[in-house]
Protein backbone atom coordinates (compact mmCIF):
# COMPACT_ATOMS: atom_id res chain seq x y z
CA UNK A 1 0.00 0.00 0.00
CA UNK A 2 2.74 2.41 0.97
CA UNK A 3 4.50 1.59 -2.29
CA UNK A 4 1.40 2.49 -4.33
CA UNK A 5 0.44 5.62 -2.44
CA UNK A 6 3.68 7.51 -2.91
CA UNK A 7 3.48 7.68 -6.73
CA UNK A 8 -0.17 8.68 -6.48
CA UNK A 9 0.68 11.47 -4.07
CA UNK A 10 3.52 12.61 -6.35
CA UNK A 11 1.13 12.56 -9.28
CA UNK A 12 -1.41 14.70 -7.46
CA UNK A 13 1.36 17.13 -6.50
CA UNK A 14 2.40 17.39 -10.17
CA UNK A 15 -1.12 18.45 -11.07
CA UNK A 16 -1.23 20.93 -8.22
CA UNK A 17 2.03 22.38 -9.54
CA UNK A 18 0.54 22.67 -13.02
CA UNK A 19 -2.59 24.47 -11.82
CA UNK A 20 -1.07 27.99 -11.67
CA UNK A 21 0.34 27.56 -15.19
CA UNK A 22 -3.04 26.46 -16.54
CA UNK A 23 -4.77 29.33 -14.76
CA UNK A 24 -2.25 31.79 -16.21
CA UNK A 25 -2.65 30.38 -19.73
CA UNK A 26 -6.43 30.10 -19.80
CA UNK A 27 -7.82 32.83 -17.56
CA UNK A 28 -7.51 35.66 -20.13
CA UNK A 29 -9.63 33.65 -22.60
CA UNK A 30 -12.21 32.84 -19.93
CA UNK A 31 -12.44 36.47 -18.90
CA UNK A 32 -12.64 37.72 -22.50
CA UNK A 33 -15.47 35.35 -23.32
CA UNK A 34 -17.28 36.11 -20.09
CA UNK A 35 -17.05 39.87 -20.66
CA UNK A 36 -18.38 39.56 -24.19
CA UNK A 37 -21.50 37.81 -22.86
CA UNK A 38 -22.33 40.23 -20.04
CA UNK A 39 -24.92 42.99 -20.20
CA UNK A 40 -23.49 46.51 -20.05
CA UNK A 41 -25.29 47.05 -16.76
CA UNK A 42 -23.41 44.21 -15.09
CA UNK A 43 -20.16 44.95 -16.94
CA UNK A 44 -19.90 48.47 -15.57
CA UNK A 45 -21.19 47.69 -12.10
CA UNK A 46 -18.18 48.06 -9.85
CA UNK A 47 -19.88 46.18 -7.02
CA UNK A 48 -20.44 43.07 -9.17
CA UNK A 49 -18.20 40.02 -9.05
CA UNK A 50 -16.23 40.09 -12.34
CA UNK A 51 -15.61 36.33 -12.44
CA UNK A 52 -19.17 35.18 -13.13
CA UNK A 53 -22.30 36.24 -14.98
CA UNK A 54 -25.15 36.96 -12.57
CA UNK A 55 -27.61 38.92 -14.68
CA UNK A 56 -27.92 36.40 -17.50
CA UNK A 57 -25.77 36.09 -20.61
CA UNK A 58 -26.57 38.25 -23.62
CA UNK A 59 -25.55 38.24 -27.27
CA UNK A 60 -26.10 41.97 -27.71
CA UNK A 61 -22.36 42.70 -28.07
CA UNK A 62 -22.04 40.08 -30.79
CA UNK A 63 -25.10 41.45 -32.56
CA UNK A 64 -23.69 44.94 -32.38
CA UNK A 65 -20.32 43.74 -33.67
CA UNK A 66 -21.81 41.93 -36.64
CA UNK A 67 -24.57 44.38 -37.66
CA UNK A 68 -23.18 47.77 -36.68
CA UNK A 69 -19.50 47.42 -37.55
CA UNK A 70 -17.64 46.16 -40.63
CA UNK A 71 -16.54 43.05 -38.73
CA UNK A 72 -17.75 40.66 -41.44
CA UNK A 73 -15.77 42.60 -44.07
CA UNK A 74 -12.62 42.45 -41.92
CA UNK A 75 -13.06 38.72 -41.44
CA UNK A 76 -13.53 38.21 -45.19
CA UNK A 77 -10.39 40.28 -45.83
CA UNK A 78 -8.46 38.21 -43.30
CA UNK A 79 -9.62 34.97 -44.93
CA UNK A 80 -8.72 36.21 -48.41
CA UNK A 81 -5.29 37.53 -47.44
CA UNK A 82 -4.46 34.51 -45.29
CA UNK A 83 -5.67 32.00 -47.88
CA UNK A 84 -3.72 33.55 -50.74
CA UNK A 85 -0.54 34.27 -48.78
CA UNK A 86 -0.55 30.72 -47.40
CA UNK A 87 -1.02 29.11 -50.82
CA UNK A 88 1.67 31.22 -52.48
CA UNK A 89 4.13 30.66 -49.64
CA UNK A 90 3.65 26.90 -49.40
CA UNK A 91 4.18 26.50 -53.17
CA UNK A 92 7.28 28.73 -53.33
CA UNK A 93 8.60 27.25 -50.08
CA UNK A 94 8.08 23.65 -51.24
CA UNK A 95 10.08 23.94 -54.44
CA UNK A 96 12.81 26.00 -52.76
CA UNK A 97 13.07 23.48 -49.92
CA UNK A 98 13.26 20.57 -52.37
CA UNK A 99 16.10 22.28 -54.24
CA UNK A 100 17.95 23.00 -51.00
CA UNK A 101 17.46 19.53 -49.55
CA UNK A 102 18.16 17.46 -52.67
CA UNK A 103 19.86 19.26 -55.53
CA UNK A 104 23.46 20.32 -55.97
CA UNK A 105 23.93 23.58 -57.81
CA UNK A 106 25.98 26.75 -57.72
CA UNK A 107 25.24 28.87 -54.66
CA UNK A 108 23.07 26.34 -52.82
CA UNK A 109 24.89 26.85 -49.52
CA UNK A 110 24.72 30.62 -49.69
CA UNK A 111 21.03 30.53 -50.53
CA UNK A 112 20.34 28.17 -47.63
CA UNK A 113 22.08 30.53 -45.23
CA UNK A 114 20.21 33.47 -46.76
CA UNK A 115 16.87 31.75 -46.14
CA UNK A 116 17.81 31.05 -42.55
CA UNK A 117 18.89 34.64 -41.95
CA UNK A 118 15.68 36.10 -43.42
CA UNK A 119 13.74 33.63 -41.26
CA UNK A 120 15.14 35.52 -38.27
CA UNK A 121 14.53 39.07 -39.55
CA UNK A 122 11.68 40.52 -37.52
CA UNK A 123 8.84 42.30 -39.34
CA UNK A 124 9.26 45.35 -37.13
CA UNK A 125 12.69 46.02 -38.66
CA UNK A 126 11.34 46.44 -42.19
CA UNK A 127 7.80 47.81 -42.02
CA UNK A 128 8.84 51.44 -42.54
CA UNK A 129 10.72 51.06 -45.87
CA UNK A 130 8.33 48.30 -46.94
CA UNK A 131 5.49 50.82 -46.69
CA UNK A 132 7.30 52.83 -49.37
CA UNK A 133 7.76 49.77 -51.59
CA UNK A 134 4.06 48.97 -51.20
CA UNK A 135 3.28 52.54 -52.21
CA UNK A 136 5.45 52.30 -55.34
CA UNK A 137 3.80 49.01 -56.29
CA UNK A 138 0.52 50.91 -56.27
CA UNK A 139 -0.84 48.79 -53.43
CA UNK A 140 -1.02 51.44 -50.71
CA UNK A 141 -4.13 51.11 -48.55
CA UNK A 142 -5.06 47.79 -50.16
CA UNK A 143 -5.36 44.33 -48.68
CA UNK A 144 -3.40 43.11 -51.72
CA UNK A 145 -0.30 44.69 -50.21
CA UNK A 146 -0.59 42.04 -47.49
CA UNK A 147 -0.92 39.19 -50.01
CA UNK A 148 2.37 40.41 -51.51
CA UNK A 149 4.29 41.09 -48.30
CA UNK A 150 3.22 38.22 -46.02
CA UNK A 151 5.22 35.68 -48.06
CA UNK A 152 8.39 37.54 -47.03
CA UNK A 153 8.21 35.92 -43.60
CA UNK A 154 6.15 32.85 -44.57
CA UNK A 155 8.42 31.57 -47.37
CA UNK A 156 11.58 31.39 -45.19
CA UNK A 157 9.54 29.64 -42.49
CA UNK A 158 7.96 27.09 -44.87
CA UNK A 159 11.26 26.47 -46.64
CA UNK A 160 13.09 25.91 -43.38
CA UNK A 161 10.41 23.57 -42.05
CA UNK A 162 10.15 21.57 -45.29
CA UNK A 163 13.90 21.08 -45.76
CA UNK A 164 13.73 18.96 -42.62
CA UNK A 165 10.81 16.91 -43.92
CA UNK A 166 12.34 16.34 -47.37
CA UNK A 167 15.52 15.06 -45.76
CA UNK A 168 13.51 12.34 -44.02
CA UNK A 169 12.36 10.92 -47.38
CA UNK A 170 15.06 8.41 -48.34
CA UNK A 171 16.97 9.40 -51.48
CA UNK A 172 16.82 5.81 -52.76
CA UNK A 173 13.04 5.87 -53.23
CA UNK A 174 13.35 8.84 -55.53
CA UNK A 175 16.37 7.41 -57.37
CA UNK A 176 14.48 4.15 -57.99
CA UNK A 177 11.66 6.08 -59.64
CA UNK A 178 14.12 7.90 -61.85
CA UNK A 179 15.85 4.67 -62.86
CA UNK A 180 12.39 3.43 -63.88
CA UNK A 181 12.13 6.33 -66.32
CA UNK A 182 10.38 9.06 -64.34
CA UNK A 183 11.72 12.59 -64.66
CA UNK A 184 12.83 14.42 -61.56
CA UNK A 185 9.64 16.51 -61.57
CA UNK A 186 7.51 13.36 -61.76
CA UNK A 187 9.50 11.77 -58.97
CA UNK A 188 8.96 14.88 -56.86
CA UNK A 189 5.26 15.05 -57.63
CA UNK A 190 4.42 11.34 -57.33
CA UNK A 191 6.90 10.08 -54.76
CA UNK A 192 8.48 12.78 -52.62
CA UNK A 193 5.50 15.11 -52.07
CA UNK A 194 3.08 12.34 -51.02
CA UNK A 195 5.67 11.14 -48.51
CA UNK A 196 6.11 14.67 -47.15
CA UNK A 197 2.38 15.34 -46.66
CA UNK A 198 2.66 15.77 -42.86
CA UNK A 199 5.31 18.41 -43.49
CA UNK A 200 3.13 20.19 -46.05
CA UNK A 201 0.15 20.18 -43.69
CA UNK A 202 2.36 21.54 -40.96
CA UNK A 203 3.78 24.29 -43.19
CA UNK A 204 0.30 25.29 -44.37
CA UNK A 205 -1.07 25.36 -40.81
CA UNK A 206 1.76 27.55 -39.55
CA UNK A 207 1.62 29.83 -42.57
CA UNK A 208 -2.12 30.23 -42.00
CA UNK A 209 -1.66 30.93 -38.30
CA UNK A 210 1.23 33.36 -38.77
CA UNK A 211 -0.56 35.38 -41.42
CA UNK A 212 -3.89 35.37 -39.57
CA UNK A 213 -2.05 36.70 -36.51
CA UNK A 214 0.10 39.24 -38.37
CA UNK A 215 -0.54 42.75 -37.11
CA UNK A 216 2.17 45.34 -37.80
CA UNK A 217 2.10 45.13 -41.62
CA UNK A 218 -1.69 45.10 -41.72
CA UNK A 219 -1.79 48.10 -39.39
CA UNK A 220 0.81 50.03 -41.41
CA UNK A 221 -0.20 49.26 -45.00
CA UNK A 222 -3.98 49.66 -44.75
CA UNK A 223 -5.92 52.67 -43.53
CA UNK A 224 -9.48 52.27 -44.84
CA UNK A 225 -11.97 50.22 -42.89
CA UNK A 226 -12.97 48.12 -45.92
CA UNK A 227 -9.35 46.93 -46.35
CA UNK A 228 -8.70 46.04 -42.69
CA UNK A 229 -8.01 42.53 -41.44
CA UNK A 230 -9.82 41.26 -38.34
CA UNK A 231 -7.06 42.13 -35.84
CA UNK A 232 -6.63 45.66 -37.20
CA UNK A 233 -10.35 46.34 -37.55
CA UNK A 234 -11.13 45.27 -33.99
CA UNK A 235 -8.28 47.26 -32.44
CA UNK A 236 -8.80 50.38 -34.58
CA UNK A 237 -12.53 50.78 -35.09
CA UNK A 238 -14.10 49.70 -31.82
CA UNK A 239 -12.45 52.48 -29.85
CA UNK A 240 -13.80 55.93 -30.56
CA UNK A 241 -11.86 58.64 -28.78
CA UNK A 242 -12.15 57.85 -25.12
CA UNK A 243 -15.20 55.63 -25.44
CA UNK A 244 -14.41 51.93 -25.31
CA UNK A 245 -17.07 49.42 -26.22
CA UNK A 246 -15.61 46.76 -23.97
CA UNK A 247 -18.32 44.19 -24.62
CA UNK A 248 -17.97 44.41 -28.39
CA UNK A 249 -14.18 44.65 -28.17
CA UNK A 250 -14.07 41.36 -26.31
CA UNK A 251 -16.64 39.85 -28.69
CA UNK A 252 -14.38 40.90 -31.57
CA UNK A 253 -11.33 39.39 -29.91
CA UNK A 254 -13.21 36.12 -29.38
CA UNK A 255 -14.70 35.89 -32.89
CA UNK A 256 -11.43 36.98 -34.53
CA UNK A 257 -9.70 34.01 -32.91
CA UNK A 258 -12.32 31.43 -33.91
CA UNK A 259 -10.72 30.26 -37.22
CA UNK A 260 -7.42 29.62 -35.46
CA UNK A 261 -9.09 27.82 -32.56
CA UNK A 262 -10.94 25.52 -34.97
CA UNK A 263 -7.70 24.59 -36.76
CA UNK A 264 -5.98 24.21 -33.43
CA UNK A 265 -8.53 21.77 -32.05
CA UNK A 266 -8.22 19.52 -35.11
CA UNK A 267 -4.47 19.75 -35.66
CA UNK A 268 -2.97 20.14 -32.18
CA UNK A 269 -0.28 17.52 -32.79
CA UNK A 270 0.89 19.27 -35.93
CA UNK A 271 1.23 22.52 -34.01
CA UNK A 272 3.34 20.82 -31.37
CA UNK A 273 5.62 19.13 -33.90
CA UNK A 274 5.87 22.21 -36.13
CA UNK A 275 6.80 24.44 -33.23
CA UNK A 276 9.70 22.26 -32.23
CA UNK A 277 10.76 21.47 -35.81
CA UNK A 278 10.88 25.15 -36.71
CA UNK A 279 13.21 25.98 -33.86
CA UNK A 280 15.22 22.85 -33.34
CA UNK A 281 15.78 21.12 -36.69
Amino acid sequence: MAVRRRPLLAKVLMHVGLAPFLLFALFPFYHMTLTSLKTDRELYDRAAVPLVIRQGPTLEHYQKLIWETAFMTWTKNSLMVTGMATTISVVIGTIAAYALARLKFFGVGTFGTGIFVTYLVPTSLLFLPLAQVVHWLGLADSKWSLVVTYPTFLVPFCTWLLIGYFRTVPKEVEECAMVDGATRIQALWRIVLPMAVPGLVCAALFAFTLSWNEFIYALTFTSSSDQFTASVGVTQELIRGDIYFWGSLMAGAVLGSVPIVILYVFFLDYYVSGLTAGAIK
Partner: protein, 311 residues
Protein backbone atom coordinates in the same frame (compact mmCIF):
# COMPACT_ATOMS: atom_id res chain seq x y z
CA UNK B 1 5.77 -0.11 -60.98
CA UNK B 2 3.29 2.75 -60.85
CA UNK B 3 6.05 5.10 -61.85
CA UNK B 4 6.76 3.17 -65.05
CA UNK B 5 3.34 4.06 -66.41
CA UNK B 6 3.85 7.79 -65.97
CA UNK B 7 4.33 9.48 -69.34
CA UNK B 8 4.24 13.06 -70.54
CA UNK B 9 1.98 12.97 -73.61
CA UNK B 10 2.25 10.28 -76.29
CA UNK B 11 4.91 11.85 -78.52
CA UNK B 12 6.61 14.81 -76.86
CA UNK B 13 7.74 17.55 -79.25
CA UNK B 14 11.42 18.34 -79.71
CA UNK B 15 11.17 21.50 -77.62
CA UNK B 16 9.28 19.58 -74.96
CA UNK B 17 12.04 16.98 -74.85
CA UNK B 18 14.68 19.68 -74.45
CA UNK B 19 12.86 21.29 -71.53
CA UNK B 20 12.43 17.86 -70.00
CA UNK B 21 16.10 17.15 -70.33
CA UNK B 22 17.06 20.52 -68.84
CA UNK B 23 14.72 20.00 -65.90
CA UNK B 24 16.39 16.71 -65.12
CA UNK B 25 19.74 18.42 -64.66
CA UNK B 26 20.33 19.58 -61.12
CA UNK B 27 22.34 22.55 -62.29
CA UNK B 28 19.25 23.95 -64.04
CA UNK B 29 16.44 22.64 -61.89
CA UNK B 30 18.03 23.87 -58.65
CA UNK B 31 18.27 27.54 -59.64
CA UNK B 32 14.86 27.35 -61.33
CA UNK B 33 13.29 26.09 -58.08
CA UNK B 34 14.84 28.72 -55.86
CA UNK B 35 14.23 31.65 -58.22
CA UNK B 36 10.72 32.58 -56.98
CA UNK B 37 11.88 32.61 -53.36
CA UNK B 38 15.05 34.46 -54.28
CA UNK B 39 13.20 37.17 -56.22
CA UNK B 40 10.70 37.63 -53.41
CA UNK B 41 13.40 38.00 -50.79
CA UNK B 42 15.49 40.34 -52.95
CA UNK B 43 12.61 42.68 -53.79
CA UNK B 44 10.75 42.64 -50.48
CA UNK B 45 13.46 41.97 -47.87
CA UNK B 46 16.92 42.88 -49.16
CA UNK B 47 15.80 45.98 -51.07
CA UNK B 48 13.74 47.45 -48.18
CA UNK B 49 16.67 46.76 -45.89
CA UNK B 50 18.97 48.81 -48.13
CA UNK B 51 16.27 51.48 -48.23
CA UNK B 52 16.14 51.51 -44.44
CA UNK B 53 19.90 52.16 -44.44
CA UNK B 54 19.44 54.99 -46.94
CA UNK B 55 16.50 56.55 -45.06
CA UNK B 56 18.39 56.36 -41.80
CA UNK B 57 21.19 58.39 -43.33
CA UNK B 58 18.90 61.03 -44.80
CA UNK B 59 16.59 63.71 -43.49
CA UNK B 60 13.61 62.07 -45.21
CA UNK B 61 10.25 63.46 -44.19
CA UNK B 62 6.89 62.38 -45.60
CA UNK B 63 6.22 64.28 -48.85
CA UNK B 64 9.52 66.17 -49.00
CA UNK B 65 12.71 65.53 -50.99
CA UNK B 66 15.48 64.10 -48.83
CA UNK B 67 19.19 64.76 -48.53
CA UNK B 68 22.05 62.61 -47.37
CA UNK B 69 23.13 63.59 -43.86
CA UNK B 70 25.39 60.68 -42.92
CA UNK B 71 25.12 59.25 -39.43
CA UNK B 72 23.56 62.39 -37.97
CA UNK B 73 20.23 60.64 -37.24
CA UNK B 74 21.89 57.89 -35.23
CA UNK B 75 23.81 60.43 -33.18
CA UNK B 76 20.94 62.90 -32.78
CA UNK B 77 18.77 60.18 -31.26
CA UNK B 78 20.94 60.16 -28.16
CA UNK B 79 19.84 63.73 -27.43
CA UNK B 80 16.23 62.63 -27.30
CA UNK B 81 14.84 61.58 -23.92
CA UNK B 82 12.27 59.30 -25.51
CA UNK B 83 14.98 57.38 -27.40
CA UNK B 84 17.26 56.99 -24.38
CA UNK B 85 14.27 55.76 -22.38
CA UNK B 86 13.35 53.35 -25.19
CA UNK B 87 16.89 52.00 -25.37
CA UNK B 88 16.81 51.24 -21.66
CA UNK B 89 13.28 49.80 -21.86
CA UNK B 90 14.30 47.42 -24.64
CA UNK B 91 16.97 45.80 -22.50
CA UNK B 92 14.88 45.72 -19.31
CA UNK B 93 11.94 44.26 -21.24
CA UNK B 94 13.97 41.67 -23.15
CA UNK B 95 16.11 40.65 -20.18
CA UNK B 96 13.22 40.21 -17.75
CA UNK B 97 10.88 38.58 -20.24
CA UNK B 98 13.39 36.08 -21.67
CA UNK B 99 14.73 35.29 -18.18
CA UNK B 100 11.23 34.65 -16.80
CA UNK B 101 10.24 32.59 -19.81
CA UNK B 102 13.37 30.46 -19.43
CA UNK B 103 12.87 29.69 -15.73
CA UNK B 104 9.11 29.17 -16.02
CA UNK B 105 9.56 27.27 -19.28
CA UNK B 106 11.94 24.75 -17.73
CA UNK B 107 9.60 24.30 -14.76
CA UNK B 108 6.56 23.84 -16.96
CA UNK B 109 8.39 21.44 -19.30
CA UNK B 110 9.53 19.30 -16.35
CA UNK B 111 5.93 19.11 -15.13
CA UNK B 112 4.58 18.29 -18.61
CA UNK B 113 7.17 15.53 -18.97
CA UNK B 114 5.66 13.60 -16.04
CA UNK B 115 2.89 11.02 -16.26
CA UNK B 116 -0.20 13.20 -16.29
CA UNK B 117 -3.93 12.73 -16.51
CA UNK B 118 -5.45 14.37 -19.60
CA UNK B 119 -1.96 14.88 -21.03
CA UNK B 120 -3.17 15.99 -24.48
CA UNK B 121 -5.73 18.37 -23.07
CA UNK B 122 -3.21 19.99 -20.74
CA UNK B 123 -0.67 20.37 -23.52
CA UNK B 124 -3.33 21.94 -25.73
CA UNK B 125 -4.30 24.40 -23.02
CA UNK B 126 -0.70 25.38 -22.32
CA UNK B 127 0.01 26.07 -26.01
CA UNK B 128 -3.14 28.13 -26.58
CA UNK B 129 -1.75 31.63 -25.84
CA UNK B 130 0.85 31.09 -28.53
CA UNK B 131 -1.59 30.43 -31.39
CA UNK B 132 -4.24 33.09 -30.73
CA UNK B 133 -3.66 36.42 -32.57
CA UNK B 134 -1.53 38.51 -30.20
CA UNK B 135 -3.23 41.80 -30.96
CA UNK B 136 -6.60 40.30 -29.99
CA UNK B 137 -5.50 38.42 -26.89
CA UNK B 138 -3.68 41.55 -25.72
CA UNK B 139 -7.02 43.37 -25.90
CA UNK B 140 -8.21 40.89 -23.30
CA UNK B 141 -5.24 41.77 -21.09
CA UNK B 142 -5.91 45.44 -21.65
CA UNK B 143 -9.36 44.96 -20.19
CA UNK B 144 -7.92 42.88 -17.32
CA UNK B 145 -5.60 45.79 -16.46
CA UNK B 146 -8.31 48.46 -16.85
CA UNK B 147 -7.97 51.20 -14.25
CA UNK B 148 -11.58 50.98 -13.03
CA UNK B 149 -12.67 47.40 -13.66
CA UNK B 150 -9.42 45.44 -13.41
CA UNK B 151 -10.16 41.81 -12.61
CA UNK B 152 -6.51 41.45 -11.55
CA UNK B 153 -6.98 44.05 -8.84
CA UNK B 154 -10.40 42.69 -7.88
CA UNK B 155 -8.89 39.23 -7.35
CA UNK B 156 -5.85 40.64 -5.57
CA UNK B 157 -8.05 42.58 -3.16
CA UNK B 158 -10.41 39.64 -2.65
CA UNK B 159 -7.44 37.42 -1.78
CA UNK B 160 -6.01 40.08 0.52
CA UNK B 161 -2.88 40.53 -1.59
CA UNK B 162 -3.55 44.17 -2.51
CA UNK B 163 -4.87 47.22 -0.73
CA UNK B 164 -7.87 48.76 -2.48
CA UNK B 165 -7.95 50.20 -5.11
CA UNK B 166 -4.77 48.37 -6.16
CA UNK B 167 -2.21 49.56 -8.70
CA UNK B 168 -3.16 51.49 -11.81
CA UNK B 169 -1.38 48.98 -14.03
CA UNK B 170 -1.14 50.85 -17.29
CA UNK B 171 -0.96 54.37 -15.86
CA UNK B 172 2.12 54.09 -13.67
CA UNK B 173 5.65 53.71 -14.93
CA UNK B 174 6.94 50.52 -13.31
CA UNK B 175 3.57 48.81 -13.17
CA UNK B 176 3.11 49.42 -16.89
CA UNK B 177 6.46 47.80 -17.65
CA UNK B 178 5.54 44.86 -15.38
CA UNK B 179 2.23 44.46 -17.19
CA UNK B 180 3.85 44.51 -20.63
CA UNK B 181 6.46 41.95 -19.55
CA UNK B 182 3.77 39.74 -17.99
CA UNK B 183 1.81 39.62 -21.24
CA UNK B 184 4.95 38.86 -23.23
CA UNK B 185 5.78 36.01 -20.84
CA UNK B 186 2.20 34.75 -21.10
CA UNK B 187 2.40 34.68 -24.88
CA UNK B 188 5.97 33.31 -25.20
CA UNK B 189 5.98 30.71 -22.43
CA UNK B 190 4.35 27.95 -24.55
CA UNK B 191 7.16 28.18 -27.10
CA UNK B 192 9.76 27.65 -24.37
CA UNK B 193 7.82 24.90 -22.62
CA UNK B 194 7.07 22.87 -25.76
CA UNK B 195 10.60 23.15 -27.18
CA UNK B 196 12.23 22.30 -23.84
CA UNK B 197 9.80 19.41 -23.45
CA UNK B 198 10.97 18.07 -26.83
CA UNK B 199 14.52 18.33 -25.51
CA UNK B 200 13.62 16.50 -22.27
CA UNK B 201 11.94 13.66 -24.12
CA UNK B 202 15.10 13.05 -26.13
CA UNK B 203 17.31 12.54 -23.06
CA UNK B 204 18.01 8.79 -22.75
CA UNK B 205 16.32 7.18 -19.73
CA UNK B 206 19.45 5.10 -19.01
CA UNK B 207 21.32 8.21 -17.88
CA UNK B 208 18.78 8.82 -15.13
CA UNK B 209 18.80 5.16 -14.13
CA UNK B 210 22.59 5.21 -13.91
CA UNK B 211 22.56 8.42 -11.87
CA UNK B 212 19.93 6.97 -9.55
CA UNK B 213 21.95 3.78 -9.12
CA UNK B 214 24.90 5.98 -8.10
CA UNK B 215 22.70 7.53 -5.43
CA UNK B 216 22.18 10.95 -7.02
CA UNK B 217 19.29 12.92 -5.54
CA UNK B 218 16.55 14.43 -7.69
CA UNK B 219 18.16 17.86 -7.66
CA UNK B 220 21.59 16.41 -8.42
CA UNK B 221 20.06 14.55 -11.36
CA UNK B 222 18.56 17.82 -12.61
CA UNK B 223 21.80 19.83 -12.33
CA UNK B 224 24.16 17.12 -13.58
CA UNK B 225 22.12 15.25 -16.16
CA UNK B 226 19.09 17.25 -17.32
CA UNK B 227 20.52 20.74 -17.52
CA UNK B 228 23.79 19.93 -19.34
CA UNK B 229 21.94 17.82 -21.91
CA UNK B 230 19.31 20.53 -22.42
CA UNK B 231 21.92 23.18 -23.11
CA UNK B 232 21.73 23.07 -26.94
CA UNK B 233 17.91 23.33 -26.89
CA UNK B 234 18.01 26.12 -24.32
CA UNK B 235 20.56 28.02 -26.39
CA UNK B 236 18.38 27.91 -29.51
CA UNK B 237 15.18 28.80 -27.70
CA UNK B 238 16.81 31.73 -25.90
CA UNK B 239 18.38 33.04 -29.12
CA UNK B 240 15.08 32.86 -31.01
CA UNK B 241 13.15 34.43 -28.22
CA UNK B 242 15.69 37.22 -27.75
CA UNK B 243 15.18 38.41 -31.33
CA UNK B 244 11.42 38.28 -31.21
CA UNK B 245 11.11 39.79 -27.74
CA UNK B 246 13.55 42.57 -28.54
CA UNK B 247 11.62 43.47 -31.67
CA UNK B 248 8.16 43.08 -30.11
CA UNK B 249 5.49 45.48 -31.29
CA UNK B 250 1.96 44.14 -30.84
CA UNK B 251 1.81 43.87 -27.07
CA UNK B 252 3.15 47.33 -26.30
CA UNK B 253 1.18 48.96 -29.10
CA UNK B 254 -2.16 47.58 -27.89
CA UNK B 255 -1.54 47.71 -24.14
CA UNK B 256 0.17 51.08 -23.55
CA UNK B 257 1.27 52.49 -26.93
CA UNK B 258 4.57 53.29 -25.24
CA UNK B 259 3.13 55.24 -22.32
CA UNK B 260 2.98 56.47 -19.67
CA UNK B 261 5.60 59.05 -20.75
CA UNK B 262 7.54 56.64 -23.00
CA UNK B 263 8.17 54.27 -20.10
CA UNK B 264 7.20 51.17 -22.10
CA UNK B 265 8.24 52.18 -25.63
CA UNK B 266 10.28 49.60 -27.54
CA UNK B 267 12.25 50.25 -30.73
CA UNK B 268 9.40 49.03 -32.93
CA UNK B 269 6.70 51.15 -31.31
CA UNK B 270 8.90 54.26 -31.23
CA UNK B 271 9.77 53.66 -34.90
CA UNK B 272 6.09 53.75 -35.73
CA UNK B 273 5.44 56.85 -33.69
CA UNK B 274 8.38 58.84 -35.08
CA UNK B 275 8.52 57.42 -38.60
CA UNK B 276 4.82 57.22 -39.45
CA UNK B 277 2.76 59.28 -37.02
CA UNK B 278 5.19 62.24 -37.00
CA UNK B 279 6.35 61.56 -40.57
CA UNK B 280 10.09 61.68 -39.79
CA UNK B 281 10.99 58.67 -41.90
CA UNK B 282 14.74 59.23 -41.56
CA UNK B 283 14.68 59.30 -37.76
CA UNK B 284 12.24 56.39 -37.66
CA UNK B 285 14.45 54.23 -39.87
CA UNK B 286 17.44 55.05 -37.68
CA UNK B 287 15.51 53.88 -34.59
CA UNK B 288 14.48 50.60 -36.23
CA UNK B 289 18.09 49.96 -37.24
CA UNK B 290 19.10 49.93 -33.60
CA UNK B 291 17.43 46.51 -33.64
CA UNK B 292 20.01 45.37 -36.13
CA UNK B 293 23.12 44.82 -33.92
CA UNK B 294 21.21 42.44 -31.66
CA UNK B 295 19.81 40.63 -34.68
CA UNK B 296 23.28 40.39 -36.22
CA UNK B 297 24.83 39.00 -33.04
CA UNK B 298 22.13 36.36 -32.63
CA UNK B 299 22.37 35.33 -36.29
CA UNK B 300 26.12 35.11 -36.02
CA UNK B 301 25.97 32.92 -32.91
CA UNK B 302 23.36 30.69 -34.54
CA UNK B 303 25.35 30.25 -37.73
CA UNK B 304 28.68 29.87 -35.98
CA UNK B 305 27.80 27.46 -33.18
CA UNK B 306 24.31 26.12 -33.39
CA UNK B 307 23.65 25.35 -37.05
CA UNK B 308 27.16 24.82 -38.27
CA UNK B 309 26.35 21.26 -39.18
CA UNK B 310 23.49 22.19 -41.53
CA UNK B 311 25.05 24.76 -43.83
Amino acid sequence: MAVGSVRVGATPSRAGLRVRELLDRERFLGPAFVTPALLLLLVLVAYPFVMALYFAMSNAFIGRPSHFIGTRNFVALWDSDSFRQTFQNAFVFTGSAVGSKLVLGITLALLLNEQLWFKRLIRGAVLLPWVIPTALSTLGWWWMFNSLYSVVNWSGIALGLMDPPGPNWLGQKYYAMTAVIAVNVWRGLPFFAICILAGLVSIPKELYEAAEADGASASARFWNVTLPLLKPVLAIVVLFSTIFTFSDFNIVYVLTNGGPINSTHLFATLTRQVGLESGQIGQGAAISLYLFPVLAIVVWIQLRFVRRQVY
